[in-house]
Symmetry: D2
Subunit: 260 residues, 4 copies
């Protein structure tokens, strides 16, 4: 599937404000970036670096006045997400070194508090993919997916208490449940074709059978059309924009995804 | 100061258990490891790797029965911790790329919730070192340092509510307060000469004036004699041992630090 | 300066051939990639990774038949290269860890053989920038820059013996001379505005006064208009394409740079 | 096998001299460091860092006068080197990203010049382990291993011309031959039990069947008792000591390996 995605952000800046953006998709094993535009107005020096997780990040200082970011890309991505019922749990000792840190609790995924619930949800399941599939189904049936229901990320504990959340929040709870079973899990932020309502999206990946698989409790089946912008332990690592100093909110945010 | 430090741990293992240990101190800019022993009984294949933060980590599977780890080192470290009143806050745009992630909230340091308190504690302070010194003094006078008061790490919010904690917990609150002011901060786990009662120790570092400085709310003045085992965003990253599967607790844990 | 650069390559493949390409410019401290296209025909799975040096590399297997790569970018880059006569030599002990490896000899830069010549060329020069400027001037006056004079990279020893070479070869000799004086130096491959005749280009950077400076013995003065594709120790690290198995040469190669 | 290894170096320093040492063995998948001593006299500030390849490196400035380094370790290592006749060549497209750079030519391994010879040596061999075994046998029968025959590293071309070399030189030729067949290969520097005459040693590893295997053309059979100090592309990367400024040679160098 060839998708054209775009994200336009506008801010009204009243004091020079450092930003770290994560708005440039990278080609990787799951997607190929064929075309890409990234404009910042007014022109501003930008420094790009690669973070711990391999995400491309853009650093800049927005000056006072109107500040606009326009990005668009054409990305080739899969028509469906791989399913792999039966794919096996990877014993800790066989996990690659680089995957181990995805077992640890993080800001919004208090995996140290969820073992009991995770065991309950996954009882009778084969270890591995089937456990994560059971967790995803449990999220679908138990936690209401309410886009726009909150602005600040909810942690797994909060989502579980509230019983509802946005895509990112459901991902947090899914990740915490996986990690509590010693299954490495991470958040992914990006775009999804046909998302309703259209917006940035977040889902999660779990490491099973020696690779990462996609899980998304906000969607039925295993659709494709995902475009990855960034990945990390949880929403703290993959903010599409991080801004420092007095809070600034976009006065305009426009996300589009179309198949071409 | 030349310190001989040692840590011996014994476990009774009832089911083969994967461990990740962080018990080998590394030489770095703050310490020089002159002598080092690391024994595991019974002999077990161990794989050592370097994590994201540069810590040496040891992976192994403990078999059933008695499982003992003995480590000791002779480390040359500073006689005192550097103080630098007046050292300046580093603007976000001037921070090295590798330091940026220490601005983000993490499992036990919910820095996103502490800006108001941090501003209150540091009002009238010069930006930078003096702010962190004020935070450390505030911790000393407000949060009771009670060694042994809990086993599981407390997050900054919990410590602040409880009003007490172990060294690690005070560090969490200090870190969260720093990050909420856009000062990068990280936890350090290791040993401290003359610690009362003797045990593993934890403190924190803040990035000011283009380098990391040591802060320890559990001690008066700026003592030296610190030996670093690991550093990271918070206690989730620097467990001296991480163990997977059914919980196992040391049946013996012996920590010693002597000057030589 | 805003440049539109493009590179199109065509191959006739007679046996499935693994390629590693380095044709996607990255934003960094010296350039900002505003627009980018990367097309491969026929469509082929491509995996992109970041190498040791931070370069984006694309892995793929070209199937039999016509194989075409088209890339183009719009890049904002500086109007001139910084000059800094007087900028100081950085003592080894003050070099960042990550820069140290650029002091070592490499495939095409046998810096271990050039100390005598380098001392001769730079006598009476202030240590640092002025030494590298003297080396660059010496290259301009001693080694003939003959575009197209060879296909395979020449090493510094070979260039020095031959007395001529392409841009890449002159860079090799410049790098070897710098390293022999304990000045870190690296090759850069990319595009240059107004290059005559137009083609891919190579130049070098030396680390002085705590940053990297651009040097190009093939050009007079300090022009700007450089677009970086990759950097490394020498041409072995920054091939625009590396291909494995029986040799394959482009049947068409088209490079364009225009100011917009 | 449990080996006690030690290396003592003495220098007479006449001008303050920066050194980078690689004398601290690391635990890894092939060895476990149980005990370790590292003393520098007179006491000198040392900064340790991890290089690109994961080697621990020690930076320091030796002051005028006598300068002595004493290191010793007890290391658990394998009794024999794994053999794996039949282990398969890994197609380029299946190599891990991190292994790819070991296919490139380097300072002392001009693999771009050896394809013809390599094809000749390995004709009729199964692709993979058997090719590298054939190369190693060819080295044994064709290139005389003459310890102490030179001080400066010889490149593969030079060794091939000379027909003799030290361990490091034979490794260079072995590596160049492997890489010319698209088999990733790297040098290893360290210690070998029962080496005659005792000294530091160098050998090489080739990546076959999804792991690294040890090859040593200076020894018969597949002995064990190897202790790794450092690994890299060739001798340029793994000098036991790199020293900058006017040359300094050890006035004493003592290497010991005993089984315990």
């Amino acid at each position: 599937m060839r998708l054209k995605i775009s994200c336009n952000l506008k801010f009204e800046i009243s004091t020079p404000t450092p930003f770290i953006l994560m708005l440039r998709p990278r080609s990787g094993s799951q997607q190929w970036v064929e075309h890409q535009e990234y404009e910042i107005k007014p022109g501003t020096p930008v420094f790009e670096f690669t973070d711990h997780y391999g995400n491309l990040c853009q650093r800049l200082i927005a000056q006072c006045g109107l500040f606009a970011i326009s990005t668009s890309s054409v990305v080739v991505t899969s028509d469906y997400s791989d399913e792999a019922y039966g794919a096996e749990f990877v014993e800790i000792q066989n996990l690659p070194d680089s995957v181990l840190s995805y077992l640890l609790p993080s800001r919004y995924c208090e995996s140290d508090c969820f073992n009991e619930l995770a065991v309950h949800i996954t009882q009778d399941q084969l270890l591995g993919y089937n456990q994560v599939a059971a967790i995803t189904n449990w999220l679908r049936s138990t936690i209401s997916y309410i886009p726009g229901s909150n602005n600040e990320p909810l942690s797994a504990i909060q989502v579980n208490n509230n019983g509802y959340g946005v895509c990112r929040d459901l991902a947090h709870l899914g990740i915490a449940l996986c990690r509590s079973l010693s299954i490495p899990a991470r958040i992914v932020v990006g775009y999804l074709h046909n998302l309703q309502p259209m917006d940035m999206h977040a889902w999660f990946e779990a490491y099973i059978g020696n690779r990462w698989y996609t899980f998304d409790a906000t969607q039925l089946g295993s659709p494709g059309g995902y475009v990855i912008l960034g990945l990390g332990k949880d929403a703290a690592d993959v903010a599409v924009f991080n801004q420092f100093g007095p809070s600034v909110f976009p006065i305009e945010q426009q996300v589009r995804v179309e198949q071409i």
